[in-house]
């Protein structure tokens, strides 16, 4: 399968993840959507790297995976903290920035 196929796959997964981020009520669900988006990015990177023969793409993917792990951990920590303070995990209730 050519590069186009993998890019198409990544695009589909990306948009599904975006849909999840925009639509879901629960904060943790939003984080799941973010995970999907990041995964699609990784697929993109690896695909390009493979088809051009340059390994830097794969190295980059290792790095992004690590960073994503850190981000997920901290994001969930913040969700738990928010729970403690505001007793809610619903994203709609977290609107202190409301103008």
């Amino acid at each position: 399968m050519g590069l186009q196929a993998y890019l198409t796959l990544a695009a589909i997964v990306f948009s599904i993840g975006l849909f999840g981020v925009v639509t879901r009520r629960n904060t943790i669900s939003i984080l799941l959507g973010v995970e999907l988006m990041l995964n699609s990015v990784n697929i993109n990177l690896v695909a390009f790297s493979r088809f051009s023969g340059d390994l830097s793409g794969m190295v980059f993917t290792v790095f992004t995976i690590c960073i994503t792990v850190v981000e997920a951990a901290l994001g969930l920590a913040i969700v738990i903290l928010l729970f403690r303070v505001r007793r809610t995990a619903t994203a709609d209730h977290l609107d202190l920035l409301k103008g």
Partner: protein, 619 residues
Amino acid sequence: MMTGDGTFALAALLLHALGFLTLAIVAPLRRLGRPAAFFSIACALGSLAAAVTAWQRHMGGAVSRLVWQWLPSQGQTLATVGVLADSDSTVMLSLVALVACLVQIYSLAYLSDEPAPSFGRYFTYQSLFAFSMMGLVLAPNLAQLFICWELVGVSSYLLIGFWYKKPEAARAAVKAFWITKAGDVGLLIGIVLLWRLTGTFDLTEMRVLVESGALPVAGLSIITFCLYLGAAGKSAQFPMHIWLPDAMEGPTPVSALIHAATMVTAGVYLLLRTEWLFALTPDVLLIVAWIGALTALMAAILACVQDDIKRVLAYSTVSQLGYMMTAIGAGFASAGFFHLLTHGLFKALLFLGAGAVIHAVHSNDLPHMGGLARKMPQTAIVFLIGTLSLAGIPLFGGFLSKEEILGAVWAGGLPGPFIILMIVAFLTAFYMFRVVFLAFFGHPPAHDHGHGSHTHPHDPPAAMALPLWVLALLSMAVGVYFTFTHPEPEFESPGWLTPAAVSAALAGIGLAWLTYERKIINAASLAAAFGPIRYAAIHRFWIDDVFEGIYNAVLLGFSKVVGWLDRYIVDGVLNVVSSWTLSSGDDLRTIQTGRVQDYVYGVAVGLLILLLWARWALA
């Protein structure tokens, strides 16, 4: 630039300026009252002496110009300031100086009840007026004339409204100022247009231009008409006459000075000074003559129904001003000017005499007077002299000047105004002798007018009597002198003119005698015979109401429109813009929901739009 000897004229002018400035600046002197008055009178006497000397030197037609540069413009002089003394201006100067001096002496006694500070204030204003009137008379150019013209208006306002605590006086002063100002707008426009046409303000230069035929005549009618408007305002021609009767709220000496002899004649004087200009526009002169005649007739009718002695004299002044204007309109300005001079003398006399009567009876109203000839013989004599002059009886001052006007109007080919003026001569004699018979003859009124202990009229004190006698003697002297040394008029009068005029006057006197003295003709039925005219006259021909109506409708209406525009359109636009801003701000606020998801959504949509644009717009 200086030719001839204008120093005496200048001295006359500057003495009054000295009087005014000293009294205006040195407030302690002014507040002392009588010393201020004496200072002002001293200046007036000196000014009179200087004026008469100047007149003597210029009687034969000599012309002196004494000017200084005043307004520079592009290296040349735009306007000068100074004096232009010739035979006309110096004799007018002498009249002004004489009447101003006599009035100030008269005021010493007439206003003796005034508290000292306002007494001093009065004389300050008197000096200001005399200075500005002389500046006007001696003006070598139209710029100085206009400034002095306005100063005269200001002085008139100050003097009419001297008793400013009286609401009627304050209103009358404002009314006078407004009406004359309306005319002054025309004057200013005329002066500027004239400058544009000739390139100069100077009267001498303009005259040279006109007499050499270098002045383009096109469009000159508008200019002269504008100048006439200014004159009509000051000289109370119809319809701008309405301020003069109301101006009688001022002290009587003020009326004698300003509204008989000097300020109101400024208009006539202006037309005299520029008669060579008006000669080029005969159509405007025709308007001048007709309006003058109509003013004379209307004012004479109005004078017949007045009960206030000063109002009778005020309308009489308006009527005589109409006479002068008609003569000018006929093309013989010197006849008008002659009448101006004699009228100045006897009208001032009549006013001062009326002032003596008012001072004695403490009332202006004719019904409160009667049989005063026995109690105030001196006043009666001088008043009678003045009345005979006004009526135009031979040997008295006004006779020859009136006859000359009638002759001028006839020679100018204006039969309509001529007939009107004849009728007015009859009416003039009638209403003046009505006053004489009602006030000085007959019986005193019953003592139930609530005057208390003031019902013992007597002749005025010396300070008031002296000016009266001086004016009376001068009126008679002028009359006698000109009767025997008849100067050659510029025109031929028909032989029947003099007898016709004198008979008209005698007829008027006869009618008044029959009605008010002999009581053969009932006054009431005489009035009823002229029913509708009388009714209109009592309502002053509703001219005041017309003015008020125009003011309310036009000015106030316009103000209301402008106010509405300001509130709803100007403010409205601003308010709408501001409220739009606020409401759109409120609406835009809803974008900030505070929820991160919505922001991500916004980012996604924005990204979408960018990609769409990149694909189609750029590709």
